[in-house]
Symmetry: C2
Subunit: 93 residues, 2 copies
C-alpha cells in the first residue's frame, strides 16, 4: 500500500468519526433536555470520569492512554459547550 492508499483509509475513518461525533452530540442534547425537564444539573463530572475510564480500560493502542484521555476530554468539552448553547437557545425562546 502506498501513501495515497493509507490516506484513503484515513478519509473513510474520518467520515465515520464525523458521523459518530454528531450522533454522540445528538445523544448529549437529548440527555440535556431530559435533565432540564427533571431539574437536574446538566454537568456531571462523575459521568465524565466514567467516560474517560471506560476508554482507558479498553485502549490497546497504538495511541497511548494520555492521547486517548486528551481526545475524550476534547469530545467532552464539545459536549459541554453544545449543551450550554442548546440551553441558551431554549431559554431565549
Amino acid at each position: 500500500m502506498d501513501i495515497s492508499d493509507w490516506r484513503r483509509q484515513i478519509d473513510e475513518i474520518d467520515d465515520q468519526l464525523l458521523e459518530l461525533f454528531n450522533r454522540r452530540a445528538t445523544c448529549s442534547i437529548e440527555i440535556g433536555a431530559l435533565k432540564r425537564r427533571m431539574n437536574l444539573c446538566v454537568c456531571s463530572s462523575e459521568r465524565e470520569a466514567e467516560v474517560i475510564g471506560r476508554a482507558l480500560r479498553s485502549n490497546r493502542g497504538p495511541l497511548d492512554d494520555a492521547a486517548i484521555r486528551r481526545l475524550f476530554e476534547a469530545i467532552l468539552e464539545e459536549s459541554r459547550l453544545l449543551q450550554v448553547l442548546v440551553a441558551e437557545q431554549e431559554a431565549g425562546r
Copy 2:
C-alpha cells in the same frame, strides 16, 4: 428513552470512536514509515488542511463547524505526536 438509555448509546459510540482513533493512528504510523523510507518530510500542513476541509464540507451538525474543526485538530495533533514518538523509537534502535 431515559438518561441511562442515551448513556448506553454514547458508550457504544465511544467504543467505536476508540477503535477508529487507534485504526487511524495505525494508518498514520504506516504513512510515517513510508515517508521516512522515501526521505519525505513527515509533516504535511497541506494534507492537514485537506483533512479539516473534508470534515467541514460533510458536517451537518448538530456540532457546528468550529467544534468539528477543534476535534479534528485534536486528532491531527495526536497523530503528529505519535509520529514523533515512533520516529524517535526507530532512531534509538
